[in-house]
């Protein structure tokens, strides 16, 4: 690890002021992803400002929805009865990610801010515009099987790895921040950026801007998260899909669909959403919507498999959310969220 100084923040305001005035400073919360990047030499901060002890660990009712403090652990958020019952996609996405040990420590603000799992980003000997602007992109012509289908650029084909970010994008969560210019609210789908020519910037957050909470708006529909990965548990998604469905009698009033691990940010399938609105849910409709969602996909050399896989996954997620097919496990658990393997089996009482 590159040497750094360490400081524990006493307040959010102090943390923001400290990081804002020091270009080499950065926040650290749970650290489960951050410490690994320090070890790998990808991160070389001069100062770590520890925000893990700040009083941002409550889940409270807020404007008909829920306010989840930035420091709430992934475990606590997933286990919250309010989250699990009203926003099962959030619990499912959290529990389908990482391991118990990591979820116990990882924070709700940190999870969506984790960096790509592109292997070239994590290897300082390789060209990577995200890690080192201007150095090139080794993944473009390299082994790009986990890389992007949508919104990539010649500078970067990385995907965003967070599961819960996909669910938060589908639910139109809002991110509350405190920054150099004071507090602001960011619509979750706007938080992450596409790579363009500046892939080193994952989000629109400014230097020194701290997430203080993630707000889930009032929502009375159904939500669901489904994930396919290379092993049964404790693996990043190859493709994932979050659905938020609001019904109007027998018809869909509004459907929101976000795809994970296919772009530099959670990818809202807006063309599919438009097709679903006002329609009666059928498998045929869902297949047409999935075809529309993946029509714009631009596969690379090694990730073309993601197109049929993603299409199929999206159909299944819609079928399960609309109850045309049963969930594979109890709503709000990893068993509902995981395709295949041990985790995909229904968890039955002994």
């Amino acid at each position: 690890m590159h040497p750094f100084q360490y400081q524990r923040a006493d307040s959010a305001e102090q943390a923001v002021a400290t990081v804002t005035k020091n270009p080499a400073a950065t926040f650290i919360a749970g650290g489960t992803s951050h410490v690994d990047l320090l070890k790998e030499g990808v991160y070389r901060p001069g100062l770590l400002v520890d925000v893990s002890a700040l009083p941002l660990r409550q889940i409270t009712a807020h404007e008909g929805g829920l306010r989840i403090g930035a420091g709430v652990s992934n475990t606590a958020a997933a286990a919250s009865a309010e989250v699990r019952q009203r926003y099962p996609a959030v619990s499912e996405a959290l529990l389908a990610g990482a391991s118990v040990q990591i979820r116990n420590v990882a924070s709700m603000a940190g999870n969506p801010l984790q960096r790509t799992r592109c292997p070239y980003f994590r290897d300082p000997t390789q060209a990577c515009n995200k890690r080192e602007p201007g150095s090139g992109c080794a993944a473009l012509e390299g082994y790009n099987h986990v890389h992007a289908l949508f919104g990539a650029s010649a500078a970067c084909v990385a995907t965003h790895p967070s599961d819960v970010a996909v669910a938060l994008a589908a639910l139109d969560a809002r991110v509350q921040t405190l920054g150099p210019k004071g507090p602001r609210t960011i619509a979750f789908p706007e938080l992450h950026r596409l790579p363009g020519t500046t892939p080193h910037l994952d989000t629109i957050l400014e230097h020194g801007e701290l997430i203080t909470s993630i707000d889930l708006p009032a929502f009375t529909g159904r939500s669901h998260y489904l994930k396919v990965r290379e092993r049964a548990s404790y693996a990043y998604a190859l493709v994932s899909c979050a659905v938020a469905l609001e019904m109007d009698g027998p018809n869909i009033r509004r459907a929101r669909v976000a795809l994970g691990s296919v772009a530099h940010k959670p990818w809202r399938a807006t063309s599919a959403e438009a097709m679903l609105a006002g329609q009666r849910p059928t498998e045929q409709l869902f297949r047409a919507a999935a075809d529309a969602a993946f029509a714009e996909a631009k596969p690379l050399k090694h990730n073309a498999y993601k197109v049929p896989m993603g299409r199929q996954l999206m159909v299944r997620a819609l079928l399960e959310t609309s109850s045309l097919q049963p969930l594979q496990g109890p709503a709000g658990t990893a068993f509902a969220a995981s395709v295949g393997g041990v985790a995909g089996q229904v968890a039955s009482p002994r």
Partner: protein, 351 residues
């Protein structure tokens, strides 16, 4: 033992000589260390694996030694790195040279090697010689403690010899560059408060407080193993992928390799050493034994810490096999003792 080097140097202390008493950099005197073997390494640089050229050499040594990356961060606090420009180097007759002395429990030089400036040294022969002198084999160690007949623990011996040999690989003394060296060594960690970059950290582990001086880069895992010698917690991958380093933070399982020690201040840390009560094993430990839930045992402390934390976890309340497999997926077992691990956990859950 044969060395393809030129270990003899006319003015240097000879094998069999009694080492002269002297003060070491940490303030202790050599005579105070009688009763245990001492490694003295003279080099132009102090050992700091965070310095790029040193870590490169060390990595090269590890590759030849085949001991794996687990030693890279190991601090060897039972050996002494000495400045080859100093008074000690004069008394040992090795001014301006890289040299390694192994003293036995009586303070007699048992083995030494001196490298002339400009001379090249390959790590293989040095390690072979060190091993021949003091083989770190399981047979020579007490199975319970890993302590060699000489009183040196096996891991300390291996670490110390590796580190010392790495020192010998460093370029020879260049007195004109001494200032640069010192700047590089202190500048790297300077500014974090105390001048040497160390922070006063108190960790509460197994109901006891441990005051430490730590670089902020030290992970909780390294603080446990290298600073406090609580080596029950294992370093597997050191990247959060295997679960071998699992401990409890405030009763919940956590990966000590992905936790900076300084950030775990104020938390109740429990390690595998804190589970048993004297000789009485925790029920989970007993169940692992009963169900033969391991082969090599390296992942076992992490498995047991993850499993004991699950006893309080609501998400595994039914204790079904699929729930437990999912909840334990962060702990890998290379020997694939999974069915037995599952059986052990289920037995404790039902009790």
């Amino acid at each position: 033992m044969s060395l393809p080097l030129k270990p003899e140097f006319p003015l240097a202390l000879q094998t069999g000589d009694l080492a002269p008493d002297c003060e070491l950099p940490d303030g202790s005197r050599l005579t105070e260390l009688r009763g245990r073997p001492v490694v003295l390494a003279f080099a132009p640089d102090t050992w700091d694996p965070t310095l790029a050229h040193q870590s490169e050499l060390f990595a090269q040594l590890l590759a030849e030694f085949g001991s794996g990356a687990a030693f890279v961060d190991a601090a060897a606090d039972e050996w002494h790195a000495l400045d080859c420009r100093g008074e000690l180097a004069e008394r040992f007759g090795v001014v301006g040279k890289r040299a390694l002395f192994l003293l036995d429990e009586q303070g007699i030089v048992r083995w030494k090697t001196v490298v002339e400036p400009g001379e090249d040294l390959r790590p293989g022969p040095v390690l072979a010689a060190l091993e021949a002198l003091h083989p770190p084999t399981p047979a020579a160690a007490s199975p319970a403690t890993g302590v060699l007949a000489s009183g040196l623990t096996r891991r300390t011996f291996v670490t110390a010899t590796l580190a010392a040999a790495a020192l010998l690989l460093l370029p020879g003394c260049r007195t004109e560059s001494s200032d640069t060296n010192e700047q590089a060594a202190t500048g790297s960690a300077d500014g974090a408060g105390s001048g040497n970059g160390l922070l006063a950290v108190t960790l509460r582990i197994n109901d006891k407080n441990y005051p430490l001086q730590l670089d902020p880069r030290v992970t909780l895992l390294d603080a446990l193993r290298e600073h406090l010698h609580l080596t029950g917690t294992k370093k597997g991958c050191d990247h959060g992928q295997c679960g071998a380093c699992t401990v409890h933070l405030n009763g919940q399982s956590a990966l000590s390799c992905l936790t900076l020690a300084v950030m775990s201040q104020g938390q109740e840390i429990t390690t595998i050493e804190g589970l048993s009560t004297g000789e009485a094993l925790h029920p989970m430990q007993a169940a692992f034994l009963k169900h033969d839930a391991f082969q090599c045992g390296y992942c076992t402390p992490g498995q047991i810490m993850a499993a004991t934390a699950l006893l309080q976890d609501q998400t595994t309340r039914t204790g079904s096999a699929v729930e437990l497999r999912e909840a334990m997926s962060g702990n890998l077992c290379r020997c694939a003792a999974y069915p037995n691990i599952l059986a052990a956990i289920q037995e404790v859950q039902r009790a």
